[in-house]
Protein backbone atom coordinates (compact mmCIF):
# COMPACT_ATOMS: atom_id res chain seq x y z
CA UNK A 1 0.00 0.00 0.00
CA UNK A 2 1.38 3.38 -0.94
CA UNK A 3 0.53 6.21 1.43
CA UNK A 4 0.14 9.75 0.29
CA UNK A 5 2.52 12.42 1.49
CA UNK A 6 -0.05 13.75 3.93
CA UNK A 7 -0.74 10.32 5.38
CA UNK A 8 2.94 9.64 5.91
CA UNK A 9 3.40 13.03 7.54
CA UNK A 10 0.40 12.42 9.82
CA UNK A 11 1.80 9.07 10.91
CA UNK A 12 5.19 10.61 11.62
CA UNK A 13 3.60 13.44 13.61
CA UNK A 14 1.61 10.99 15.68
CA UNK A 15 4.68 8.84 16.33
CA UNK A 16 6.70 11.88 17.44
CA UNK A 17 3.89 12.94 19.77
CA UNK A 18 3.60 9.50 21.36
CA UNK A 19 7.36 9.11 21.76
CA UNK A 20 7.68 12.63 23.18
CA UNK A 21 4.89 12.06 25.70
CA UNK A 22 6.31 8.69 26.74
CA UNK A 23 9.79 10.12 27.25
CA UNK A 24 8.28 12.97 29.27
CA UNK A 25 6.11 10.65 31.35
CA UNK A 26 8.88 8.22 32.23
CA UNK A 27 11.66 10.72 32.76
CA UNK A 28 9.78 12.11 35.75
CA UNK A 29 10.27 9.92 38.81
CA UNK A 30 7.34 9.20 41.05
CA UNK A 31 6.89 12.19 43.24
CA UNK A 32 4.73 13.91 45.70
CA UNK A 33 2.55 16.43 44.00
CA UNK A 34 3.21 20.02 45.01
CA UNK A 35 -0.15 20.18 46.69
CA UNK A 36 0.75 17.35 49.01
CA UNK A 37 3.76 19.18 50.42
CA UNK A 38 3.44 20.62 53.87
CA UNK A 39 3.41 24.35 54.30
CA UNK A 40 6.88 24.08 55.86
CA UNK A 41 8.33 22.18 52.95
CA UNK A 42 6.87 24.66 50.52
CA UNK A 43 8.25 27.67 52.35
CA UNK A 44 11.69 26.10 52.58
CA UNK A 45 11.61 25.28 48.92
CA UNK A 46 12.00 21.65 49.79
CA UNK A 47 10.84 19.22 47.23
CA UNK A 48 11.14 21.93 44.61
CA UNK A 49 13.29 19.98 42.19
CA UNK A 50 11.17 16.90 42.49
CA UNK A 51 7.88 18.73 42.44
CA UNK A 52 9.05 20.66 39.31
CA UNK A 53 7.46 19.26 36.22
CA UNK A 54 4.30 17.17 36.25
CA UNK A 55 4.01 14.21 33.87
CA UNK A 56 1.71 14.46 30.86
CA UNK A 57 -0.82 12.16 32.44
CA UNK A 58 -1.46 14.79 35.10
CA UNK A 59 -1.70 17.49 32.46
CA UNK A 60 -4.29 15.44 30.60
CA UNK A 61 -6.22 14.95 33.78
CA UNK A 62 -6.14 18.68 34.38
CA UNK A 63 -7.17 19.39 30.80
CA UNK A 64 -10.11 17.05 31.14
CA UNK A 65 -11.17 18.63 34.39
CA UNK A 66 -10.84 22.18 33.03
CA UNK A 67 -12.35 21.58 29.63
CA UNK A 68 -15.37 19.75 31.04
CA UNK A 69 -16.42 22.92 32.85
CA UNK A 70 -14.69 25.77 31.02
CA UNK A 71 -17.01 28.56 32.07
CA UNK A 72 -17.36 28.17 35.82
CA UNK A 73 -16.82 31.29 37.88
CA UNK A 74 -15.93 30.95 41.53
CA UNK A 75 -14.56 34.35 42.42
CA UNK A 76 -11.75 36.52 41.03
CA UNK A 77 -8.99 33.94 41.37
CA UNK A 78 -10.93 30.91 40.29
CA UNK A 79 -12.52 31.15 36.88
CA UNK A 80 -12.79 28.51 34.17
CA UNK A 81 -10.26 28.45 31.35
CA UNK A 82 -12.98 29.34 28.86
CA UNK A 83 -13.74 32.58 30.67
CA UNK A 84 -10.06 33.51 30.90
CA UNK A 85 -9.46 32.81 27.20
CA UNK A 86 -12.66 34.69 26.41
CA UNK A 87 -11.32 37.80 28.16
CA UNK A 88 -8.03 37.54 26.31
CA UNK A 89 -9.69 37.08 22.93
CA UNK A 90 -12.00 39.99 23.63
CA UNK A 91 -9.04 42.28 24.40
CA UNK A 92 -7.06 41.07 21.42
CA UNK A 93 -9.95 41.50 19.01
CA UNK A 94 -10.88 44.93 20.34
CA UNK A 95 -7.36 46.31 20.17
CA UNK A 96 -6.82 44.60 16.86
CA UNK A 97 -10.03 45.94 15.31
CA UNK A 98 -9.14 49.48 16.39
CA UNK A 99 -5.68 49.04 14.89
CA UNK A 100 -7.12 47.72 11.62
CA UNK A 101 -9.62 50.56 11.44
CA UNK A 102 -6.75 53.03 11.52
CA UNK A 103 -3.94 51.11 9.85
CA UNK A 104 -5.76 50.09 6.69
CA UNK A 105 -7.12 53.51 5.64
CA UNK A 106 -3.89 55.21 6.69
CA UNK A 107 -1.88 52.56 4.87
CA UNK A 108 -3.97 53.24 1.76
CA UNK A 109 -3.16 56.93 2.01
CA UNK A 110 0.54 56.28 2.52
CA UNK A 111 0.60 53.80 -0.33
CA UNK A 112 -1.16 56.15 -2.73
CA UNK A 113 0.78 59.29 -1.90
CA UNK A 114 4.56 59.46 -1.95
CA UNK A 115 4.36 62.70 0.04
CA UNK A 116 2.36 61.08 2.83
CA UNK A 117 4.80 58.17 2.78
CA UNK A 118 7.83 60.42 3.13
CA UNK A 119 6.16 62.55 5.79
CA UNK A 120 5.00 59.68 7.99
CA UNK A 121 7.91 57.33 7.50
CA UNK A 122 10.19 58.81 10.22
CA UNK A 123 7.44 58.47 12.83
CA UNK A 124 6.73 54.91 11.82
CA UNK A 125 10.41 53.99 11.89
CA UNK A 126 10.82 55.33 15.43
CA UNK A 127 7.56 53.98 16.87
CA UNK A 128 7.62 50.56 15.25
CA UNK A 129 10.63 49.01 17.06
CA UNK A 130 9.29 49.95 20.52
CA UNK A 131 8.34 46.87 22.50
CA UNK A 132 4.59 47.10 23.04
CA UNK A 133 5.07 46.44 26.76
CA UNK A 134 7.21 49.55 27.05
CA UNK A 135 4.02 51.53 26.47
CA UNK A 136 2.35 49.90 29.44
CA UNK A 137 3.39 52.34 32.21
CA UNK A 138 2.54 55.32 30.06
CA UNK A 139 -0.79 53.75 29.08
CA UNK A 140 -1.65 52.98 32.69
CA UNK A 141 -0.78 56.51 33.71
CA UNK A 142 -2.65 58.24 30.91
CA UNK A 143 -5.65 55.93 30.57
CA UNK A 144 -5.89 55.10 34.29
CA UNK A 145 -7.59 51.83 33.51
CA UNK A 146 -5.85 48.47 33.35
CA UNK A 147 -8.40 46.93 30.98
CA UNK A 148 -8.12 49.77 28.46
CA UNK A 149 -4.35 49.81 28.85
CA UNK A 150 -4.11 46.18 27.85
CA UNK A 151 -6.27 46.92 24.81
CA UNK A 152 -4.08 49.89 23.97
CA UNK A 153 -0.98 47.72 24.08
CA UNK A 154 -2.61 45.29 21.66
CA UNK A 155 -3.60 48.20 19.46
CA UNK A 156 -0.09 49.60 19.33
CA UNK A 157 1.59 46.28 18.61
CA UNK A 158 -0.78 45.17 15.88
CA UNK A 159 -0.95 48.46 14.00
CA UNK A 160 2.54 48.37 12.44
CA UNK A 161 2.49 45.22 10.33
CA UNK A 162 -0.97 46.15 9.00
CA UNK A 163 0.04 49.73 8.28
CA UNK A 164 3.27 48.84 6.52
CA UNK A 165 1.82 45.94 4.55
CA UNK A 166 -1.18 47.96 3.42
CA UNK A 167 1.07 50.82 2.29
CA UNK A 168 3.42 48.40 0.56
CA UNK A 169 0.60 46.48 -1.12
CA UNK A 170 -1.18 49.61 -2.31
CA UNK A 171 2.01 51.20 -3.63
CA UNK A 172 2.82 48.01 -5.51
CA UNK A 173 -0.46 47.71 -7.42
CA UNK A 174 0.48 47.38 -11.07
CA UNK A 175 0.08 50.56 -13.07
CA UNK A 176 -1.67 48.52 -15.79
CA UNK A 177 -4.57 47.72 -13.48
CA UNK A 178 -4.87 51.30 -12.35
CA UNK A 179 -4.87 52.28 -16.04
CA UNK A 180 -7.79 49.91 -16.61
CA UNK A 181 -9.68 51.78 -13.90
CA UNK A 182 -8.70 55.11 -15.42
CA UNK A 183 -9.78 54.22 -18.95
CA UNK A 184 -13.13 53.17 -17.50
CA UNK A 185 -13.48 56.50 -15.73
CA UNK A 186 -13.86 54.98 -12.29
CA UNK A 187 -13.89 57.55 -9.51
CA UNK A 188 -11.21 57.39 -6.85
CA UNK A 189 -13.46 55.64 -4.37
CA UNK A 190 -14.53 52.99 -6.87
CA UNK A 191 -10.96 52.56 -8.03
CA UNK A 192 -9.91 52.05 -4.42
CA UNK A 193 -12.57 49.44 -3.78
CA UNK A 194 -12.78 47.60 -7.08
CA UNK A 195 -9.17 47.67 -8.23
CA UNK A 196 -6.65 48.67 -5.59
CA UNK A 197 -8.20 46.83 -2.65
CA UNK A 198 -8.49 43.45 -4.39
CA UNK A 199 -5.07 43.90 -5.97
CA UNK A 200 -3.41 44.70 -2.65
CA UNK A 201 -5.57 42.34 -0.56
CA UNK A 202 -3.08 39.46 -0.39
CA UNK A 203 -0.38 41.75 0.99
CA UNK A 204 -2.81 43.46 3.36
CA UNK A 205 -4.11 40.16 4.71
CA UNK A 206 -0.55 38.92 5.21
CA UNK A 207 0.01 42.00 7.39
CA UNK A 208 -3.22 41.28 9.28
CA UNK A 209 -2.09 37.72 9.87
CA UNK A 210 1.28 38.84 11.24
CA UNK A 211 -0.51 41.37 13.45
CA UNK A 212 -2.92 38.90 14.99
CA UNK A 213 0.01 36.60 15.77
CA UNK A 214 1.90 39.40 17.50
CA UNK A 215 -1.24 40.54 19.34
CA UNK A 216 -1.75 37.07 20.73
CA UNK A 217 1.89 36.90 21.85
CA UNK A 218 1.63 40.27 23.55
CA UNK A 219 -1.71 39.78 25.32
CA UNK A 220 -0.24 37.06 27.54
CA UNK A 221 2.57 39.33 28.73
CA UNK A 222 0.22 42.32 29.07
CA UNK A 223 -2.23 40.38 31.20
CA UNK A 224 0.56 39.13 33.42
CA UNK A 225 1.30 42.79 34.11
CA UNK A 226 -2.21 44.18 34.52
CA UNK A 227 -3.72 41.16 36.20
CA UNK A 228 -7.35 40.52 36.98
CA UNK A 229 -8.53 38.32 34.15
CA UNK A 230 -7.31 36.70 30.98
CA UNK A 231 -5.18 33.74 30.06
CA UNK A 232 -1.94 35.62 30.82
CA UNK A 233 -3.14 36.41 34.31
CA UNK A 234 -4.28 32.81 34.69
CA UNK A 235 -0.80 31.47 33.87
CA UNK A 236 0.78 33.86 36.33
CA UNK A 237 -1.76 33.08 39.01
CA UNK A 238 -1.24 29.33 38.67
CA UNK A 239 2.49 29.86 38.84
CA UNK A 240 1.98 31.75 42.09
CA UNK A 241 -0.09 28.82 43.27
CA UNK A 242 2.78 26.58 42.18
CA UNK A 243 0.26 24.62 40.14
CA UNK A 244 2.57 23.67 37.28
CA UNK A 245 0.04 21.31 35.82
CA UNK A 246 -2.30 24.21 35.22
CA UNK A 247 0.58 26.29 33.91
CA UNK A 248 1.45 23.68 31.31
CA UNK A 249 -2.18 23.18 30.44
CA UNK A 250 -2.72 26.90 29.91
CA UNK A 251 0.47 27.17 27.85
CA UNK A 252 -0.97 24.51 25.56
CA UNK A 253 -4.27 26.39 25.38
CA UNK A 254 -2.43 29.58 24.41
CA UNK A 255 -0.82 27.65 21.59
CA UNK A 256 -4.10 26.16 20.42
CA UNK A 257 -5.95 29.49 20.40
CA UNK A 258 -3.05 31.17 18.59
CA UNK A 259 -3.16 28.42 16.01
CA UNK A 260 -6.90 28.86 15.49
CA UNK A 261 -6.56 32.64 15.08
CA UNK A 262 -3.78 32.13 12.56
CA UNK A 263 -5.76 29.50 10.69
CA UNK A 264 -8.72 31.88 10.39
CA UNK A 265 -6.49 34.39 8.67
CA UNK A 266 -5.03 31.62 6.57
CA UNK A 267 -8.53 30.97 5.22
CA UNK A 268 -8.99 34.69 4.53
CA UNK A 269 -5.62 34.78 2.80
CA UNK A 270 -6.59 31.97 0.47
CA UNK A 271 -9.88 33.68 -0.26
CA UNK A 272 -8.22 36.87 -1.51
CA UNK A 273 -5.25 35.26 -3.25
CA UNK A 274 -4.97 35.47 -7.03
CA UNK A 275 -2.49 34.33 -9.63
CA UNK A 276 -1.17 36.94 -12.04
Amino acid sequence: MVLSLNQRAAILSLALLVVGLLVWEFSIPAQKAATELTEYERLMGLGQERAGVPPPSQVFEKAWEQLSKPFYDAGPNDKGIGIQIGYSIYRVLTGYALAAAIAIPLGFLIGMSPVAYKALNPFIQVLRPISPLAWMPLALFVIQDSEASAIFVIFICSIWPMLLNTAFGVAGVRADWVNVARTHELGSLRTAFTVILPAAAPTIVTGMRISIGIAWLVIVAAEMLVGGTGIGYYVWNEWNNLDLTSVIFSILMIGVVGMILDAAFGVLQRAVAYVE
Binding site: D176, W177, N179, V180, R182, T183, H184, E185, L186, T194, V195, P198, A199, A201, V272, Y274, V275, E276
Partner: protein, 300 residues
Protein backbone atom coordinates in the same frame (compact mmCIF):
# COMPACT_ATOMS: atom_id res chain seq x y z
CA UNK B 1 -14.17 70.28 -41.71
CA UNK B 2 -12.28 69.82 -38.49
CA UNK B 3 -10.64 66.41 -38.15
CA UNK B 4 -11.99 64.00 -35.53
CA UNK B 5 -8.60 63.43 -34.02
CA UNK B 6 -5.77 65.86 -34.41
CA UNK B 7 -2.27 65.34 -33.07
CA UNK B 8 -0.39 68.61 -32.89
CA UNK B 9 3.33 69.06 -32.30
CA UNK B 10 3.56 66.05 -30.08
CA UNK B 11 6.95 65.55 -28.44
CA UNK B 12 7.88 62.85 -25.98
CA UNK B 13 11.20 62.68 -24.15
CA UNK B 14 12.19 60.22 -21.45
CA UNK B 15 15.15 60.23 -19.12
CA UNK B 16 17.71 57.95 -20.75
CA UNK B 17 18.88 56.50 -17.45
CA UNK B 18 22.29 58.17 -17.66
CA UNK B 19 21.24 61.63 -16.61
CA UNK B 20 20.33 62.83 -20.10
CA UNK B 21 17.11 62.66 -22.07
CA UNK B 22 16.03 60.46 -24.92
CA UNK B 23 13.62 61.85 -27.47
CA UNK B 24 11.19 59.23 -28.69
CA UNK B 25 9.57 61.56 -31.23
CA UNK B 26 9.48 65.29 -31.77
CA UNK B 27 6.84 67.66 -33.17
CA UNK B 28 4.74 64.86 -34.58
CA UNK B 29 1.61 65.99 -36.40
CA UNK B 30 -1.08 63.86 -37.95
CA UNK B 31 -4.84 63.62 -38.19
CA UNK B 32 -7.45 60.92 -38.16
CA UNK B 33 -10.90 61.48 -39.66
CA UNK B 34 -14.11 60.33 -38.07
CA UNK B 35 -14.90 56.73 -38.91
CA UNK B 36 -11.45 56.11 -40.29
CA UNK B 37 -9.51 52.92 -39.68
CA UNK B 38 -5.85 53.78 -39.27
CA UNK B 39 -3.01 51.35 -38.69
CA UNK B 40 0.45 52.37 -37.57
CA UNK B 41 3.48 50.33 -38.57
CA UNK B 42 6.99 50.70 -37.27
CA UNK B 43 9.83 48.77 -35.76
CA UNK B 44 9.84 47.69 -32.17
CA UNK B 45 10.75 50.49 -29.80
CA UNK B 46 10.03 53.37 -32.20
CA UNK B 47 7.31 54.78 -29.94
CA UNK B 48 4.00 53.36 -31.14
CA UNK B 49 2.77 52.40 -27.68
CA UNK B 50 3.93 55.76 -26.40
CA UNK B 51 1.73 57.54 -28.96
CA UNK B 52 -1.13 55.23 -28.09
CA UNK B 53 -0.84 55.96 -24.37
CA UNK B 54 -0.95 59.66 -25.08
CA UNK B 55 -4.02 59.24 -27.31
CA UNK B 56 -5.66 57.21 -24.54
CA UNK B 57 -4.92 60.01 -22.09
CA UNK B 58 -2.93 57.67 -19.88
CA UNK B 59 0.36 59.49 -20.41
CA UNK B 60 1.17 63.19 -20.67
CA UNK B 61 3.37 64.12 -23.61
CA UNK B 62 6.40 66.29 -22.93
CA UNK B 63 4.76 68.89 -25.15
CA UNK B 64 2.04 69.14 -27.77
CA UNK B 65 -1.64 68.38 -27.70
CA UNK B 66 -4.12 65.78 -28.88
CA UNK B 67 -7.57 67.04 -29.79
CA UNK B 68 -10.60 64.84 -30.18
CA UNK B 69 -13.79 66.40 -31.56
CA UNK B 70 -12.09 69.75 -31.14
CA UNK B 71 -11.44 69.29 -27.44
CA UNK B 72 -8.06 68.75 -25.94
CA UNK B 73 -7.56 65.27 -24.55
CA UNK B 74 -6.72 65.38 -20.87
CA UNK B 75 -6.90 62.13 -19.00
CA UNK B 76 -8.54 58.88 -20.06
CA UNK B 77 -12.17 58.59 -21.03
CA UNK B 78 -14.74 55.92 -21.79
CA UNK B 79 -14.92 57.40 -25.29
CA UNK B 80 -11.47 56.03 -25.93
CA UNK B 81 -11.38 52.27 -25.47
CA UNK B 82 -7.99 50.63 -25.18
CA UNK B 83 -6.79 47.10 -25.86
CA UNK B 84 -3.45 47.06 -24.09
CA UNK B 85 -0.39 45.34 -25.46
CA UNK B 86 -0.19 43.18 -22.32
CA UNK B 87 -3.98 42.59 -22.07
CA UNK B 88 -4.20 44.17 -18.58
CA UNK B 89 -6.94 41.90 -17.30
CA UNK B 90 -7.75 42.03 -13.60
CA UNK B 91 -6.45 38.67 -12.36
CA UNK B 92 -8.79 38.36 -9.38
CA UNK B 93 -11.91 38.58 -11.56
CA UNK B 94 -13.24 35.84 -13.78
CA UNK B 95 -13.21 36.31 -17.54
CA UNK B 96 -16.88 37.27 -17.53
CA UNK B 97 -16.46 39.67 -14.61
CA UNK B 98 -13.59 41.36 -16.40
CA UNK B 99 -16.00 42.26 -19.18
CA UNK B 100 -19.01 43.09 -16.98
CA UNK B 101 -16.68 45.35 -14.97
CA UNK B 102 -16.20 47.44 -18.10
CA UNK B 103 -19.82 47.28 -19.24
CA UNK B 104 -21.03 48.43 -15.82
CA UNK B 105 -18.67 51.38 -15.96
CA UNK B 106 -19.93 52.33 -19.42
CA UNK B 107 -23.64 51.76 -18.87
CA UNK B 108 -24.18 52.39 -15.16
CA UNK B 109 -27.97 52.29 -15.37
CA UNK B 110 -28.26 48.94 -17.12
CA UNK B 111 -29.79 46.09 -15.18
CA UNK B 112 -27.63 43.23 -14.00
CA UNK B 113 -29.04 40.83 -16.62
CA UNK B 114 -28.55 43.30 -19.42
CA UNK B 115 -24.92 43.82 -18.42
CA UNK B 116 -24.44 40.08 -18.18
CA UNK B 117 -26.03 39.34 -21.55
CA UNK B 118 -24.09 42.10 -23.25
CA UNK B 119 -20.80 40.80 -21.85
CA UNK B 120 -21.63 37.22 -22.83
CA UNK B 121 -22.48 38.35 -26.35
CA UNK B 122 -19.13 40.04 -26.87
CA UNK B 123 -17.21 37.15 -25.32
CA UNK B 124 -19.03 34.84 -27.66
CA UNK B 125 -18.10 37.09 -30.56
CA UNK B 126 -14.41 36.50 -29.85
CA UNK B 127 -15.02 32.78 -29.51
CA UNK B 128 -15.20 32.48 -25.74
CA UNK B 129 -18.29 30.76 -24.37
CA UNK B 130 -19.31 28.05 -21.96
CA UNK B 131 -17.22 27.23 -18.89
CA UNK B 132 -14.25 29.27 -20.05
CA UNK B 133 -15.88 32.57 -19.14
CA UNK B 134 -15.97 31.62 -15.48
CA UNK B 135 -12.25 30.95 -15.33
CA UNK B 136 -9.69 33.40 -14.05
CA UNK B 137 -7.30 35.00 -16.58
CA UNK B 138 -4.41 32.99 -15.11
CA UNK B 139 -6.20 29.84 -16.24
CA UNK B 140 -6.47 31.01 -19.85
CA UNK B 141 -3.97 30.78 -22.68
CA UNK B 142 -2.26 33.93 -23.92
CA UNK B 143 -4.50 34.12 -26.98
CA UNK B 144 -7.63 33.66 -24.89
CA UNK B 145 -6.57 36.48 -22.57
CA UNK B 146 -6.03 38.70 -25.55
CA UNK B 147 -9.52 37.91 -26.78
CA UNK B 148 -11.03 38.78 -23.38
CA UNK B 149 -9.25 42.10 -23.55
CA UNK B 150 -10.65 42.67 -27.06
CA UNK B 151 -14.17 41.76 -25.94
CA UNK B 152 -13.85 44.16 -23.02
CA UNK B 153 -12.97 47.06 -25.31
CA UNK B 154 -15.47 46.23 -28.07
CA UNK B 155 -18.35 45.80 -25.65
CA UNK B 156 -18.05 49.42 -24.62
CA UNK B 157 -18.59 50.95 -28.08
CA UNK B 158 -16.02 53.69 -27.63
CA UNK B 159 -15.89 56.48 -30.20
CA UNK B 160 -12.21 55.79 -30.65
CA UNK B 161 -10.86 52.28 -30.35
CA UNK B 162 -7.14 52.14 -29.58
CA UNK B 163 -5.64 48.73 -30.24
CA UNK B 164 -2.05 47.92 -29.33
CA UNK B 165 -1.10 44.79 -31.28
CA UNK B 166 -4.45 43.25 -30.41
CA UNK B 167 -3.96 40.06 -32.37
CA UNK B 168 -0.29 39.42 -31.64
CA UNK B 169 -0.81 36.27 -29.58
CA UNK B 170 -3.41 34.66 -31.83
CA UNK B 171 -3.08 31.82 -34.32
CA UNK B 172 -3.84 32.64 -37.96
CA UNK B 173 -7.33 31.17 -37.90
CA UNK B 174 -8.56 32.92 -34.75
CA UNK B 175 -6.86 36.07 -35.89
CA UNK B 176 -8.84 35.95 -39.14
CA UNK B 177 -12.13 35.47 -37.33
CA UNK B 178 -11.53 38.31 -34.95
CA UNK B 179 -10.32 40.61 -37.70
CA UNK B 180 -13.63 39.95 -39.43
CA UNK B 181 -15.51 40.70 -36.21
CA UNK B 182 -13.58 43.91 -35.79
CA UNK B 183 -14.45 44.97 -39.34
CA UNK B 184 -18.09 44.09 -38.73
CA UNK B 185 -18.24 46.13 -35.52
CA UNK B 186 -16.38 49.02 -37.06
CA UNK B 187 -18.35 49.21 -40.32
CA UNK B 188 -21.69 49.16 -38.56
CA UNK B 189 -20.87 52.22 -36.49
CA UNK B 190 -19.27 55.62 -36.50
CA UNK B 191 -16.31 54.19 -34.63
CA UNK B 192 -12.79 55.29 -35.40
CA UNK B 193 -10.02 52.75 -35.00
CA UNK B 194 -6.35 53.41 -34.36
CA UNK B 195 -4.41 50.20 -34.36
CA UNK B 196 -0.78 49.25 -33.85
CA UNK B 197 0.33 46.15 -35.68
CA UNK B 198 3.48 44.44 -36.90
CA UNK B 199 1.63 42.52 -39.56
CA UNK B 200 1.68 44.21 -42.98
CA UNK B 201 -1.02 42.02 -44.51
CA UNK B 202 -3.29 42.62 -41.56
CA UNK B 203 -2.80 46.37 -41.92
CA UNK B 204 -3.64 46.27 -45.63
CA UNK B 205 -6.72 44.15 -45.02
CA UNK B 206 -8.10 46.38 -42.28
CA UNK B 207 -6.92 49.93 -42.75
CA UNK B 208 -8.08 52.93 -44.73
CA UNK B 209 -4.67 54.44 -44.17
CA UNK B 210 -1.38 53.19 -42.82
CA UNK B 211 0.96 55.49 -40.92
CA UNK B 212 4.60 54.52 -41.22
CA UNK B 213 7.05 55.36 -38.48
CA UNK B 214 10.81 55.57 -38.82
CA UNK B 215 13.10 54.03 -36.24
CA UNK B 216 13.74 55.89 -33.02
CA UNK B 217 15.04 57.82 -31.28
CA UNK B 218 13.71 60.95 -32.99
CA UNK B 219 11.21 58.74 -34.75
CA UNK B 220 8.87 60.39 -37.22
CA UNK B 221 5.52 59.50 -38.64
CA UNK B 222 7.02 59.72 -42.07
CA UNK B 223 4.31 58.57 -44.44
CA UNK B 224 0.61 58.08 -44.59
CA UNK B 225 -0.19 55.41 -47.16
CA UNK B 226 -3.74 55.22 -48.49
CA UNK B 227 -5.05 51.73 -49.03
CA UNK B 228 -6.67 52.04 -52.42
CA UNK B 229 -8.46 48.73 -52.31
CA UNK B 230 -12.26 48.96 -52.16
CA UNK B 231 -14.26 47.43 -49.36
CA UNK B 232 -15.61 45.00 -48.47
CA UNK B 233 -12.25 43.32 -48.56
CA UNK B 234 -11.97 39.58 -48.42
CA UNK B 235 -8.71 38.10 -47.23
CA UNK B 236 -8.43 35.66 -50.09
CA UNK B 237 -9.43 38.12 -52.79
CA UNK B 238 -7.53 41.30 -52.02
CA UNK B 239 -4.23 39.73 -53.08
CA UNK B 240 -5.59 39.68 -56.60
CA UNK B 241 -6.31 43.38 -56.59
CA UNK B 242 -3.77 45.21 -58.79
CA UNK B 243 -2.88 47.60 -55.97
CA UNK B 244 -2.20 44.95 -53.37
CA UNK B 245 1.38 44.10 -54.23
CA UNK B 246 2.27 47.66 -55.14
CA UNK B 247 1.20 48.81 -51.70
CA UNK B 248 2.68 45.82 -49.98
CA UNK B 249 6.03 46.28 -51.67
CA UNK B 250 6.04 49.93 -50.73
CA UNK B 251 5.43 49.04 -47.07
CA UNK B 252 8.00 46.27 -47.04
CA UNK B 253 10.54 48.54 -48.63
CA UNK B 254 9.85 51.24 -46.06
CA UNK B 255 10.16 48.92 -43.08
CA UNK B 256 13.11 47.08 -44.59
CA UNK B 257 15.34 49.98 -45.54
CA UNK B 258 13.82 53.44 -45.51
CA UNK B 259 12.72 53.36 -41.86
CA UNK B 260 16.42 53.05 -41.05
CA UNK B 261 17.65 55.60 -43.60
CA UNK B 262 15.12 58.19 -42.47
CA UNK B 263 15.80 57.55 -38.79
CA UNK B 264 17.36 60.01 -36.43
CA UNK B 265 16.74 63.13 -38.55
CA UNK B 266 16.12 65.85 -36.08
CA UNK B 267 13.56 68.26 -37.38
CA UNK B 268 14.15 70.87 -34.71
CA UNK B 269 11.22 73.26 -34.36
CA UNK B 270 9.73 72.34 -37.72
CA UNK B 271 6.50 70.34 -37.39
CA UNK B 272 6.80 66.85 -38.82
CA UNK B 273 3.88 65.86 -41.02
CA UNK B 274 3.58 62.55 -42.77
CA UNK B 275 3.72 62.61 -46.56
CA UNK B 276 0.56 61.28 -48.11
CA UNK B 277 1.29 58.40 -50.44
CA UNK B 278 -1.35 57.22 -52.84
CA UNK B 279 -0.64 54.18 -54.90
CA UNK B 280 -3.40 53.38 -57.37
CA UNK B 281 -2.72 51.36 -60.47
CA UNK B 282 -6.37 51.43 -61.44
CA UNK B 283 -6.46 55.22 -61.54
CA UNK B 284 -6.13 56.40 -65.16
CA UNK B 285 -4.76 59.73 -63.91
CA UNK B 286 -1.58 57.96 -62.99
CA UNK B 287 0.72 58.57 -65.89
CA UNK B 288 2.33 55.29 -66.84
CA UNK B 289 4.94 57.30 -68.75
CA UNK B 290 6.51 58.17 -65.42
CA UNK B 291 7.30 54.50 -65.21
CA UNK B 292 6.79 51.98 -62.53
CA UNK B 293 6.50 51.97 -59.59
CA UNK B 294 3.50 54.15 -59.77
CA UNK B 295 4.17 56.16 -56.69
CA UNK B 296 3.11 59.65 -55.99
CA UNK B 297 4.04 61.60 -52.98
CA UNK B 298 2.01 64.65 -52.18
CA UNK B 299 2.98 67.05 -49.48
CA UNK B 300 0.33 68.51 -47.26
Amino acid sequence: MKPFLSIENLTQRFPDGQGGTMTVFENANFRVEKGEFVCILGHSGCGKSTIMNILAGLAEPTSGVVKMDGFEVSGPSLDRGVVFQNYSLLPWLSTLKNVTFAVKARFPDWSREKVHDHAVKYLDMVGLSGDVIHRKPSQLSGGMRQRVSIARAFANHPKLLLLDEPFGALDALTRGTIQDELLKIWSGTEQTVFMITHDIDEAILLADRILLMTNGPFARVAESVEITIPRPRVRTEIIEHPNFYAIRNHLVHFLGTRSRELAGQQGGERPNRPETVRIDKTDPADDPAEGAPVLRAVNH
